[in-house]
């Protein structure tokens, strides 16, 4: 497992597209110490690595497929309704290619 350093946490934040203050990273570092310690303890529980990871509370099989009918679930105006910057029916962003 990756060692926790402030740089690692800053890198994780930048991949998540946000930033935090130095003080907040300090809090986070302390929280990680706790989590890693607790997860190590979990690793010592007998059989923990002999079971399959559980992704849902119980197996749910959905064998239903809806009919493949053409509908318009969302109109263009609805889709754009909450965007702050719209131009010619599209969401506007800073230029990517000059």
């Amino acid at each position: 497992m990756k060692a926790i350093t402030k740089e690692v946490l800053k890198d994780a934040a930048s991949r998540l597209m946000f930033d935090m203050s130095d003080e907040q990273y300090d809090t986070l570092e302390k929280e990680f110490e706790i989590i890693i310690k607790q997860m190590k303890l979990i690793g010592e529980i007998p059989d923990v690595d002999n079971v399959e990871p559980m992704t849902f509370p119980f197996d749910v099989t959905t064998d239903f497929l809806r009919e493949d009918e053409v509908t318009e679930p969302l109109t263009k105006s609805d889709a754009l309704k909450n965007a702050k910057d719209v131009l010619d029916g599209q969401i506007k962003l800073p230029k990517v290619v000059g």
């Binding site: 597209m17 706790i34 079971v51 559980m54 509370p57 749910v60 809806r66």
Partner: protein, 486 residues
Amino acid sequence: MNYLDLTIKEMHEALVKKEITPLELAKEAIKRAKADTNNAFETILEDKAIEIASELTEPEENNLFWGIPFGIKDNFSTKNILTTGSSEILKDYIPVFNATVVEKLLNAHAVPIAKTCLDELAMGGTGTTGHKGITYNPYDPKHERLVGGSSCGSAAMVSAGIAPFALGSDTGDSVRKPASFAGLVGFKPTWGRISRFGLFPFAPSLDHVAYFTRSVEDAAFALSLLAGRDLHDATSSNKKVDDYISNINDTIKGKRIAILKEVIDSIRDEKVLTIFNNTVEKLKENGAIVENVSFDLKLLEACYPTYMVISCAEATSNNANLDGIKFGPRYGGDTYQEVMCNARTKGFCELIRRRFIIGSFSLMRENQEDLFLRAQKARRLIVNRTNEILNNYDFIYIPAAPNIAPKFTDSSDKLSTNYLIADNILVLGNFAGLPSITLPIGLIENMPIGGNLMGRKFEEKELFKIAKNIEDGTGLYNLSSRKLVK
């Protein structure tokens, strides 16, 4: 007592007899909502409520929810109505559709009164992290104690007598814990029993639609309305919806109840234990077989970190769509990455950002085995043990919290090693997807404390029956309204 202080069932009877009208109820609810001092609301729906209630003139005898005022946690999508998730990043988001549960309530002619505050994006347990600030406990006029979260506004709304019903969501204990602190019934069904379409996802393997009522019977009525398969939610169950009402007063003789020994051992407050034990004695008098069962201390201690890792990991990926582009405020930037980064830095509170990093780190390839996958394996062991107990017993019964609502000065959203098993135990119901209900069992210094029951999956009917038996024994039916009258 005002008609608005009644339970849904009693209010329905008064509506059918035309002792009161939906409009009068809605007006009283709006009046009380506007006078709220607990910071329960994101948006009060005055015009909408009056418009809907005005059209309701002929009572529907077989429709319990006709004309009933209700609240909606602000992480349920409401068409053309602001839905913020109590987050700055969604502070002006207006959905274009209704969540299925909202649609069902509107179709039943229930009257929406307000959208309620929550811990930001439902990721907290204190009712202090929403963008509108702290939500207070109506039982504590000094505003020193929390009401709990994340469904803080819905809890405060029902507890303060503003409506007899409010929707919440429950990923770890977000309805069942505040119910204990606010003197309410808080219920979540089996995972898949109620459609989650339109509920902002937090951790979908743990998320449930849940709600607050003033009585066990009301909780059963609400499930009758809200349960069922929904084509918009592939995880909703095809299982037939039971009749939750007819047998609710049946005998509980011979029912087997497990009390978790380690949970009781971790509770320091003798008064909580005395109140809890009184209800146990009553259950025994009524013919139930109640036994102490050891769960496994290591597994119980694993609950909290397992929950943190799984819920944060799921939340990180679910909230990746909150980028400030399709919706959310724009704060500028020279590149689209800067636009996103500015929106997300300003849009999420510190707690949310810390949790996202915990989740993201747990999911990184080099960490997955030790963190995310290990947590998922621990979850399986915890669930296996829970179900093993429920093979031998009909219910698990525990105090819903180790104490009355804590003071803000004694509570924190930061992780610590100093936590009680009894403070994080309700998550068993989310790990295993089991139906679970909290109900008031007593008062300590005028603050309520609840008991919690969990049953086998899809056996809500049995759960309501045993909960009703406890409620009859304590006499704490509609507790919060009686507090107001006093």
